[in-house]
């Protein structure tokens, strides 16, 4: 019980710090710094959505950019095609993404291990090509937002980043609270049981296909909401922007770097990777030749070699080290 309360306290502290972050005077007030913060929260949320399936349930998917893209197109179609606010489109997109995820994963979950991962690779390519030639959703031209009224109703601002920050924060709270609830709920234990040994879990009465499908549907729903935010932030969507292996890999990379199957791993991963990516590009991108990408890659290698369990492994080591030091003292 104490453990549960301390976890709750940590969560509230992190939410509290993030809530007041844009109000603290100093370097975080600049528009680029705020952009980086928005990206950290968005990518942490996206990666947490993936973590529910890939980390807790052990089903490594490279197809999450499809659900992310469906959410993005949901909001984009509502605004660009139908002149509505993005809200109904985002919700409908998330529901459709969940349904699509169930339809796709039902046959794919019969595959195990690497075969499931390979199948999800193929799904990204299929959806990318499909959306490239589906002219109702803009095809290769994509959807460009018109200049419309700013504000929460249209969830669109042209110059200030602060409302986007709080939008990303709300999404972050929703996704991480859902993850924490699942982590402590019966379904969370079932998911980890399936990850650690499907046959053993089934022998104890866990309905593993149902558990995996539930994890997939929740994960796809949340990833789609992140996609809707992404399109509102960029005011444009086309298939390569959202439905690509590149985007799928970001979900995976951030989670693995932060700590697979841990609650705060995706936040840690995003908090390290995204600023690295954005600032290396800002400082060295203009040199050309991909110097920023080389430095970014080198830093990832350094982190992964130093701590193969991800940054959460590093945090555990620090906490354990301090506890041991106190014990000795």
């Amino acid at each position: 019980m104490r453990h549960r309360q301390s976890g709750f306290g940590l969560g509230c502290t992190i939410f509290g710090i993030l809530a007041i972050l844009p109000l603290i005077p100093g370097p975080l007030q600049g528009p680029f710094a705020k952009h980086v913060l928005v990206m950290v929260l968005l990518f942490a949320s996206m990666s947490q959505a993936w973590n529910l399936l890939g980390g807790y349930c052990g089903q490594v998917s490279f197809g999450h950019s499809v659900f992310f893209g469906i959410g993005a197109y949901g909001a984009g179609m509502a605004v660009v095609k139908y002149g509505l606010t993005p809200w109904p489109g985002a919700l409908l997109g998330a529901i459709i993404a969940s349904i699509v995820s169930l339809v796709i994963s039902y046959p794919c979950f019969r595959l195990k291990g690497h075969y499931f991962a390979i199948a999800t690779f193929a799904i990204v390519e299929i959806f990318n090509r499909l959306f490239m030639v589906w002219y109702w959703v803009g095809g290769a031209l994509g959807l460009d937002y018109p200049i419309i009224e700013e504000g929460w109703r249209n969830f669109m601002w042209y110059e200030t980043k602060t409302p986007y920050y709080y939008g990303a924060f709300a999404l972050f709270v929703l996704v991480f609270s859902t993850a924490r609830w699942i982590e402590r709920h019966r379904i969370g234990y079932y998911m980890r049981a399936v990850r650690d040994g499907q046959e053993a879990a089934e022998s104890l009465g866990v309905n593993s296909p149902q558990v995996k499908l539930t994890a997939m549907a929740i994960s796809a729903f949340l990833a789609a909401l992140c996609g809707a935010f992404f399109v509102q932030y960029n005011l444009r969507v086309d298939p390569p922007m959202v439905m690509s292996l590149d985007m799928s890999m970001r979900f995976v990379l951030i989670t693995i770097l932060g700590g697979l199957g841990t609650l705060w791993g995706p936040l840690l991963g995003a908090a390290v990777l995204i600023p690295l990516q954005e600032y290396t590009r800002a400082i060295w991108g203009g040199l050309g030749g991909g110097v920023d990408l080389i430095i970014f890659g080198l830093l990832i290698i350094v982190i992964v070699i130093r701590q193969p369990r991800g940054l959460m492994g590093f945090v555990s080591w620090v906490v354990g080290h301090r506890a041991r030091a106190r014990g000795r003292g």
């Binding site: 095809g139 460009d144 590009r281 400082i283 991909g290």
Partner: protein, 422 residues
């Protein structure tokens, strides 16, 4: 104390970070105008992006220093607006619209640039120029070709190059001319294009122009950029056998398309290319004799130098900024034009107020010896209405001018000789 290698790497990164910041601070003391460039310096079209960046650097070198022998505006004086020098801040959008938007915001908000020149890919130019428009800052676009860009009614957006709409109309005019003066009897048309913002838009404009002229549009063939095999696409063209094919295939895709046509022993009677792989001299070299007889629009190539004598000395500077040294191409030279025209407008307006400079840009016709027409003038929406290109035909590695007749130095060769008769 012995440092672990990972700590050394991190220390090196921190040092480089500070070097970057210190270098930036050095500019703030001088009388400078910061201009941002936004090109794909990495990614699938990095080579084109690097050339565009070098073209802007070339123009800035001419503007900032005195080159009395170069016959382009501002070359004889040093700087503009009574001694202001232009300082460039480069950004890489990697060919991705979301990164393009973010980098445009960073250039304006963090780097404090006065204007942006960019950004090659139409799909990136769209959101990046929207960032400028909302901030009431100037966005000078050299070569993005989507006609849509100048139909948005923007006030601070200016584009130098012809659009895919004007190119489509020029192609159709050329085919009519062949029919009327050479008895070509060309009736059916097909389009092959990469399935991207650029290709799709070009295909839509092609269809409009072809049907408006009363010709038959019989083949619409899209392919995914970076394809490793175009057999089925060329088979589709071969099946419909159009007299004329318009191509919108960039870079290596253009090579693959031409070689696949050779492999399948098929050719249309006339083949016209949008600003794409056809215009790249390196690609023409790689194709060798297989690239002969194809045609396309060209805003600049070394063979057009006799029409544009002022280009040569500027091109010599350009060659020092790009490795390997190559001449200007149709795209990169437009970015140099965008830089010169912006500098001329600031100088003439006598102020850095973006509204006044935008008004000045619209109100005047600009001398532009680096443009084929020699002039630049803007219509509402920002399109350069003086933008011109000629239809060229590649023969023995040379781009020969074939249309319009008053600029031609060679007769067009058609129908294209079949592969076995070369």
């Amino acid at each position: 104390m012995k440092w672990h290698w990972s700590k050394r790497v991190l220390a090196l990164v921190v040092v480089l970070l500070f070097v970057g910041i210190a270098g930036d601070a050095a500019f703030s003391q001088e009388k400078v105008i910061k201009i941002g460039t936004l090109f794909p310096l990495t990614g699938p079209v990095a080579l084109a992006g690097q050339r565009c960046k070098a073209a802007v650097e070339t123009a800035v070198e001419v503007i900032n220093n005195s080159y009395p022998d170069i016959k382009v505006p501002l070359a004889a004086q040093e700087g503009i607006l009574g001694g202001y020098k232009i300082v460039l801040v480069h950004a890489d959008h990697q060919g991705k619209p979301d990164i393009g938007k973010t980098e445009a915001e960073r250039l304006f908000d963090q780097e404090g640039v006065y204007a942006i020149i960019g950004s090659y890919n139409s799909a990136v130019t769209k959101p990046a120029s929207l960032v400028a428009e909302r901030r009431k800052k100037l966005f000078m676009c050299g070569c993005s070709s989507s006609a849509e860009l100048t139909k948005r009614g923007m006030k601070y957006f200016f584009r130098m190059a012809p659009t895919d709409e004007t190119e489509s109309q020029e192609f159709v005019t050329f085919v009519k001319w062949l029919n009327e003066t050479k008895g070509a009897d060309l009736k059916t048309f097909g389009v092959i294009y990469e399935n991207t913002e650029f290709g799709k838009h070009a295909a839509e404009e092609a269809k409009k122009a072809i049907e408006a002229a009363g010709f038959q549009y019989v083949a619409d063939v899209a392919f995914n950029p970076g394809a490793t095999n175009l057999n089925s696409e060329v088979q589709m063209l071969k099946g419909k056998n159009p007299d004329v094919v318009f191509g919108a295939c960039l870079g290596a895709d253009y090579i693959l398309w031409v070689r696949t046509m050779k492999q399948l022993a098929w050719l249309p009677k006339v083949c016209l290319n949008y600003c794409s792989g056809y215009q790249d001299p390196i690609i023409a070299q790689q194709l060798g004799p297989d690239g002969d007889y194809f045609m396309g629009t060209t805003g600049y190539s070394p063979e057009l130098a006799e029409l544009m004598p002022a280009v040569a000395p500027v091109e010599e500077i350009y060659k020092t900024k790009i490795d390997p040294p190559v001449p200007f191409d149709s795209d990169s030279i437009q970015e140099a034009v965008a830089t010169f025209v912006l500098a001329q407008a600031i100088d003439k307006a006598g102020t850095l107020d973006p509204d006044k400079v935008a008004e000045t840009l619209y109100a005047n016709e600009w001398e532009s010896p680096l443009s084929l027409g020699g002039k630049v003038a803007f219509a509402p929406g920002g399109q350069n209405i003086k933008a011109m290109s000629v239809v060229t035909q590649l023969k023995d590695g040379e781009y020969r001018r074939v249309f319009p007749p008053e600029l031609a130095n060679s007769d067009p060769i058609f129908p294209i000789p079949s592969w076995d008769k070369r």
